[in-house]
């Protein structure tokens, strides 16, 4: 152990030390001794000197022990930076590298290995491991103890630092380069971070910042591809290469996934490197443009989801990126991932807000269509019920008193959801009120409504089911006509519900449809129930539908209690809510009840 360390360069000043040393266990120990001497002159207390000596020994031992065959021929490098508040040591190795755990675990008592990293992490304040293709760099930082009160500071102020370095141009140059590099990286990252909150389009943002990245890491080209929101393919977002790369790469499993360096990075979720020993494959889309390059394809993730792949390279195969530069590329890419992810989140959020707004509009429309108060006739009560499902549909009911004598009951269901359905319900209602002269002939009324609405409905590929019932209290008869709507139910206390009204085509299906009508007598205590299919389609927790038979049974139970129209509606609503339990309604539910009173 008496060999003197044999650095290729040995720059020693009070603040900065750089040593290149052979990849050898013996030299590892010598280099840590040399560093101790340097730090003792800073000065540092004995505890800190011992901690640094041990940390550097452990890091250098690992670098020597796990060096690759080619790496063994190359010198390892130790750099020590003494800053006002901390010491930073960087040890560059030529191993295959390892994944640094957040906190290395202490091995079992019997284990004779695995304590080096634990010691480093325990003694340091901060440890990073930057991985590159040809080299890696362990960065260890430890705070300097605060100087005792009244004692001169351990590190001389900046002015003095300069004066102490006059005469050692090499050291000054190295420090200047180091500072310039740090400054460039930091300022670019700060600019990048502040730009994250700007509402710029992602593509433009990416292209701008990738050019900055090329300058910082001394790269010649980049290609950025982003995964489509469904994660099925990688699409070109931005590239500095002149050739045409504007095509998508499929992320599905096929042979091309093993050829394209970008797809390999996406599939393996790891950096994929290319250089002279592992060149871009012939079928790789990038190989036509930058065949003799070295660099890496880095997959970008945001919360574990693949966002894209950033590929960065140099137009030569013999100048690999340094570990620090690789770290900058990875950091930029990860920042970008967050930005892209945020942009997508904002877009989805906006879409959700728009949808919520649309539903609100539709819901308002829907409510405005329903009559605030239903007209009443001597001897008859009328009541209605409407319950909106999560997505607003186009159910609609109305009751219109005619000439102070008869009453037109209307129930309709516009196919579809949201604003379009609500709009058509509005149009239907205004048409209905435009021809009140037809109320006593519901079949003819439907025929007219179909003709009037057909072109609009047909163009929108929508249709409306409807049922019109004209009740004449004088004759105690009613006329019913239906357009694709479920028949109404008629019953009386102690009776049994019967279905009345033919169905026919819905409005908007056939231009020349003629709707017929049926005439029925109303008994002294008759009840009519007009409803939409959302009522019979109501499902319970066991996915069973209420169905027409279920509706009939429940209606009869209510009617048997001689409920009036309002009570019937109230009881029916309770029955529906009880039946469906906590299951959300999938369709609107509407019904209209008429009762002889």
């Amino acid at each position: 152990m008496t060999d003197v360390v044999t650095p290729h360069t040995n720059q020693i000043g009070a603040q900065f030390l750089s040593l290149d040393f052979k990849c050898d266990l013996r030299e590892s120990r010598e280099v840590s001794r040399c560093m101790r001497q340097f730090l003792a002159a800073v000065p540092l207390p004995e505890d800190d000197l011992h901690a640094w000596e041990l940390m550097v020994t452990e890091a250098a031992n690992n670098a020597a022990e796990y060096a690759t065959e080619m790496g063994r021929q190359l010198p390892n490098r130790l750099e020590v930076f003494c800053r006002e508040r901390e010491i930073e040591v960087r040890l560059t190795d030529h191993t295959t590298g390892f994944d640094m755990p957040a906190q290395a675990e202490l091995p079992s008592i019997d284990s004779e290995k695995g304590r080096g990293l634990f010691l480093i992490q325990s003694l340091a304040d901060e440890v990073e491991y930057l991985r590159g293709r040809a080299e890696n760099c362990m960065v260890i930082r430890k705070k300097r103890p605060a100087p005792a009160a009244g004692a001169p500071a351990g590190t001389t102020p900046a002015v003095d630092v300069g004066s102490r370095f006059i005469g050692d141009e090499q050291t000054l140059q190295a420090m200047t380069e180091e500072l310039a590099s740090c400054y460039e990286n930091l300022s670019a990252i700060f600019r990048f971070s502040s730009a994250l909150n700007q509402p710029q389009p992602t593509e433009e943002f990416a292209a701008t910042w990738m050019l900055e990245l090329l300058a910082i890491v001394e790269a010649d080209w980049y290609v950025l591809r982003l995964a489509d929101p469904g994660g099925k393919e990688l699409r070109l977002s931005a590239s500095s290469l002149p050739g045409n790369l504007d095509f998508a790469l499929s992320l599905s499993a096929d042979a091309s996934a093993t050829i394209s360096v970008e797809l390999r990075a996406a599939r393996s979720r790891q950096d994929v490197w290319f250089d002279a020993s592992a060149p871009l494959m012939l079928g790789d889309p990038l190989s036509h443009l930058v065949r003799h390059s070295n660099g890496l394809a880095h997959p970008i993730f945001a919360e574990g989801v693949l966002v894209g792949v950033l590929t960065v390279g140099r137009l030569s195969t013999d100048a690999p990126f340094k570990a620090g530069q690789v770290n900058v590329i990875q950091t930029f890419a990860d920042f970008l991932g967050i930005q892209i992810s945020n942009a997508r989140f904002r877009a989805e959020h906006l879409q959700a807000q728009l949808m919520a707004r649309e539903l609100q509009i539709a819901s308002n429309l829907q409510r405005s269509l329903l009559p605030e108060k239903l007209p009443q006739m001597p001897g008859f009560g009328v009541a209605g019920y409407y319950h909106s499902a999560r997505q607003v549909g186009g159910d609609f009911y109305d009751a219109i008193a005619v000439d102070g004598q008869g009453l037109l009951l209307v129930i309709a269901d516009v196919m579809g959801k949201g604003v379009p359905a609500a709009m058509f319900a509005t149009i239907f209602r205004s048409h209905l009120h435009a021809r009140l002269d037809l109320v006593k002939r519901p079949g003819e009324f439907l025929t007219w409504l179909n003709r009037s609405l057909f072109s609009d409905l047909d163009r929108m590929e929508m249709f409306i089911t409807a049922q019109l019932v004209y009740v004449d209290p004088a004759t105690r008869r009613f006329q019913v006509a239906g357009a694709g709507h479920c028949p109404l139910l008629m019953t009386s206390p102690g009776g049994s519900p019967i279905e009345v009204g033919n169905t026919g085509f819905p409005l908007g299906i056939m231009l020349d449809t003629r709707y017929s009508e049926e005439v029925r007598d109303l008994s002294a205590d008759a009840r009519l129930l007009l409803f939409t299919d959302g009522v019979t389609d109501t499902e319970n927790a066991g996915d069973e539908m209420l169905g027409t038979e279920g509706l009939k049974q429940n209606l009869q139970l209510i009617v048997n209690r001689r409920c009036n129209a309002a009570q019937t509606v109230q009881e029916m609503a309770i029955m529906l809510q009880t039946f469906q339990g906590k299951e959300p309604a999938t369709d609107d539910q509407a019904f209209l009840a008429l009762a002889s009173e």
Partner: protein, 100 residues
């Protein structure tokens, strides 16, 4: 490094570091010096100012060897630097430590 035997104890003294380079020497020395009568190996750490993870590995290896023989390892007078490392690695309860 020097060795001497008193009763059933093999004493190893006169070293200032236990690191990657001399950890193997120590293990070789123990292999060569250990005889059936030895039940205890006592390492004099009173002058040792540097102990790294390879030195620790050597201590654990000797500890395991002695346990198999029904014996033990004893560390004499570790310096504060060495005590700190043993404590950090929770080994201060594994080895018998004598603080004079």
């Amino acid at each position: 490094m020097k060795t001497r035997t008193e009763d059933n104890t093999l004493f190893i003294t006169d070293f200032t570091e236990l690191n990657t380079t001399n950890a193997m020497w120590l293990q070789d020395l123990v292999r060569q010096s250990l005889v059936q009568a030895h039940k205890i190996i006592e390492l004099d750490l009173s002058k040792v100012r540097f102990l790294d993870s390879n030195g620790i590995s050597a201590l654990i290896s000797i500890h395991k060897t002695m346990c198999k023989r029904g014996g033990k390892i004893r560390l004499f007078g570790p310096t504060p630097a060495v005590s700190q490392i043993l404590q950090l690695l929770s080994l201060n309860e594994v080895f018998e430590i004598i603080n004079p």
